[in-house]
Amino acid sequence: MKYETVIGLEVHSELNTDTKCFCGCKNHFGGEPNTHCCPVCTGMPGALPMLNKKAVEYAIKMGLAVGCSINEYSAFERKNYFYPDLPKAYQISQMEHPLCMGGGVEIEVNGKKKFIRLNHIHLEEDAGKLIHTNNGTMIDYNRGGVPLIEMVSEPDMSSADEAIAFLQKIRSIVLYLGISEAKMQEGNLRCDVNVSIRKEGEPLGTRTEMKNMNSFRAVARAIRSESQRQAEELDAGHKIVQETRRWDDNAGKSYSMRTKENADDYRYFPDPDIIPIEVEKEYVEHIATTLPKLATERAKEYVEKMGLSYNDAELLTQDRKIADYFENVIKTFNQPKYVCNWILGEVFKKLNSLDNEDAEIDISPENMAKLLQLYHSETIGQATARQLLDEIWGTDKNPEIIVKEKGLAQNNDTAGLEEVLKKIIADNPKAVQELKAGNQKTMQFFVGQAMRATSGKCNPKLVNEIVNKLIK
């Protein structure tokens, strides 16, 4: 390749603390507009911020999970700019003294491992939300003042795949820590991408910043599109302009929002309303003891204690909710490998078909365990199992009851099935001959015939066994 792409990410994650970052309002997604706000988060004259200690704790948690050093002295600054969703006309953020410095995560793309460094993690407040209606633009301040952590990477990634792997890793950790819902489509996980290109070995090129991607797919597309655009510019003898660009996912391309010359001067300065934080060593050590097991650790356990393959274990633990789900299913149906295969196969297929990166498994672990029990004991066949998965998804009905009510249990009556098969064998001498000749595909024919004769309730495995026995 002619150019190398250099990518740095700024990942924002809304924290799921009970209350907002600087006031006592509930931190809830959604809700009637402007029902979770007060004089502080609507920027009333004279209102003052009070720092939410929980938000600080969560940010430090994240820092510890990705190997940051926690600054003993941390302070908040005002980022000044006018926008209607920002009621104070400044965002309380951190610049010179963020809570966490350094650290990083390991990613793996196509079997190649790579360490992506973080520059820092800081805490800040979210803005409100503009809602454009036919009657004009409305403002909902419910989200205003919700705590956010911003995780800023070094420009260590060189492909869209690596960027996605990084983003997924960050999301996984955030979910394991339980500090954010981390849903991209709901906007509580967001990321800005810095992209530049260069010929190998050359110094870093001019970068552009891309905003407004609300899915992993969009991030990947935006990166590919932008590195291609930059390559075309350079090839045409143009210079890359340092600018902020807005990604339009429908159009599949980005537009310039503002160039560096027109960039806002945020006039950062220490927020005089917020006392700087002295983070005590003991406090950090205490938080460290509360960190849960992260993906890598769990995967290791699954391999060592349950005998899962390393690859399966890694896939299963990427998302904490999936891993938790897996553990809950095997509580009542203790067949780890079997459950793992089912989740990575059928359940993932189902999730992928939903076209929503934030979708979750919509069946209780108890009913999933029952479904798998039915399948494992051969009470139902594969087709029925898949059909039941669809049926109880979202309804969470008891699969045992459905099987009974609809008579979906397969017939495991060997003697009866033998009678049926004897007749089929007698009627199809040609097929028998083919089977004897070693054409195993012919077995499908017998299974099909048997299914027809039993209204689909026979066990294919039994058919297999009996036919082989009878033609010997």
């Binding site: 609507t42 009333m44 004279g46 003052l48």
Partner: protein, 481 residues
């Protein structure tokens, strides 16, 4: 008997003894407000609310309930302090119709102590000014001589107290805004230690310098009021949990052994001779009564005004950015887009002085200038703080003039901004250092205009101010008068 002429502590005793009810007293105050309407001290009054509060207190008193320190006493608050349901204008056109949706902690503390809030005082727009001439609601006249300014920015509060409309007022002091008007109007003005009184609900001018304080007719009154409004607030991170002493008890009637620091920097040749004479007399009174004079040095004092205008304007520019025409206040009628809405609303809503400070503030914060101005000012601030710290190792109290000259005539400095800014040269360093200070009357010039003396104490030592202040007040009453 002229109750309105009494000090707060005196009328407190009259209310306690049942000689007069709060309702009667409150009605008298409203009559006085009408009679002195020409002074333009108040922007709004809340008669209905006040009389209802007074009635409640009278009933509680009749029922023998335990009452707060200000029970039934009419008080005025500056119009940058939020009180639910009242207009809080900050004397700005921008907030001319803004009705507070909540109550500031200091106002709530007054109410909880039984105070009867009767009105909201005129001021310089957003507390930016030293003469009360920048108010969008008209200039305020000095009650001693209506041709003179009352000082600012708490000019309305000072005038209201000095003209006996109320028994005490709340003000805010960012660079002298309580002490300077108190000095000009001949009353007592206290700026407590930064962090002593909650700022929650007080419209911010310069957050790291703003402090709520009180204006009264006597030092004892000041001690009583501070006892009510001081204290930690869970809504203000910069408020202090430091214990609140009994301030009234701090008044002992003796200054024996008190070490008074005198810095030559406060007594330069620009000092008005009558002011110097008054100060000399006051200091001599202390010495005659057992106090000791110590010479101290504050070499960086002359940098304080520059530091002040950088830090206060920077913070003001950011604090006042929320007045954007989107949520409340002035919203321009015809605008093309959002930037145009901001531009027009702010152009229409703010007065000249406010605009000047916003521009100055944004300039010193802007990229490329931040280090040269804001950061350097913060460094110099530390130097000034250190110098005061060193000085207080040698003395208990620093005494100096509140202002170099008595009140000036209305219009005299309106067009000379630097001269106006220089008015605060002795008060500004105290805010820069975060110290408590009080202005008390110490004499009059030949035209009868009051002269103020500033007492400065180490952090949290308001007790020293009250004791020394009360001592001089009594001495003046007996002899100096």
């Amino acid at each position: 008997m002229d109750y309105l002429n009494m000090n707060l502590w005196q009328v407190r005793d009259k209310l306690n003894s049942g000689e007069i009810t709060s309702v009667e007293l409150t009605k008298k105050c409203f009559q006085r407000i009408k009679d002195t309407n020409d002074l333009n001290a108040l922007i709004s009054t809340c008669e209905e609310f006040a009389l209802a509060s007074a009635k409640k207190i009278d009933e509680a008193r009749a029922n023998g309930a335990k009452l707060g320190a200000l029970a039934g006493i009419p008080i005025v608050i500056k119009d940058n302090i939020n009180l639910t349901g009242t207009k809080t204008t900050c004397a700005s056109k921008f907030l001319a119709n803004f009705v507070s949706p909540y109550t500031a902690t200091c106002a709530q503390k007054l109410i909880d102590a039984g105070a009867v809030i009767i009105g909201k005082a005129n001021m310089d727009e957003f507390a930016m000014g030293s003469s009360n001439e920048t108010s969008a609601f008209g200039i305020v006249h000095n009650p001693v001589n209506p041709n003179y300014v009352p000082g600012g920015s708490s000019g309305g509060s000072a005038t209201s107290v000095a003209s006996n409309q109320c028994f005490g007022a709340l003000g805010t002091d960012t660079g002298g805004s309580i002490r300077e008007p108190s000095s000009f109007c001949g009353i007592v003005g206290l700026k407590p230690t930064y962090g002593r009184v909650s700022r929650y609900g007080v419209v911010a001018f310069a957050s790291s310098l703003d402090q709520v304080g009180n204006l009264t007719r006597s030092v004892r009154d000041s001690a009583i009021m501070l006892g009510v409004i001081a204290g930690e607030d869970k809504h203000d991170m910069t408020s202090s949990a430091k214990e609140i002493p009994d301030y009234e008890q701090a008044i002992t009637g003796s200054v024996k052994g008190l070490k008074i620091g005198i810095a030559k920097q406060f007594f330069n040749d620009k000092l008005n001779s009558e002011v110097r004479e008054s100060l000399d007399k006051a200091i001599q009174t202390y010495v005659d009564n057992g106090a000791e004079i110590v010479n101290i040095d504050l070499p960086s004092l002359d940098t304080a005004l520059a530091v002040y205008y950088i830090i206060s304007s920077a913070e003001a520019a950011s604090n006042l950015a929320r007045f954007d025409g989107v949520k409340y206040g002035v919203q321009a009628k015809n605008f093309n887009d959002i930037v145009d809405l901001y531009f027009k609303s702010r152009t229409q809503g703010f007065g000249k002085e406010v605009k000047r400070r916003i521009m100055l503030g944004n300039y010193v914060l802007s990229s490329g200038y931040f280090d040269a101005f804001y950061r350097k000012a913060k460094r110099v601030q530390k130097v000034i703080q250190k110098e005061f710290e060193q000085a207080f190792k040698k003395c208990d109290l620093i005494v100096c003039p509140t202002t170099a000259n008595p009140a000036f005539k209305i219009g005299e400095k309106s067009n000379d901004h630097l001269a106006m800014y220089l008015t605060d040269i002795f008060t500004v360093p105290i805010n820069i250092a975060g110290l408590p200070a009080m202005s008390i009357p110490c004499g009059k010039n030949k035209d009868g205009l009051p002269i103020g003396m500033q007492l400065i104490a180490p952090q949290w030592k308001e007790t020293t101010l009250f004791n020394a202040g009360d001592f001089l007040e009594q001495a003046i009453k007996e002899g100096l008068k």
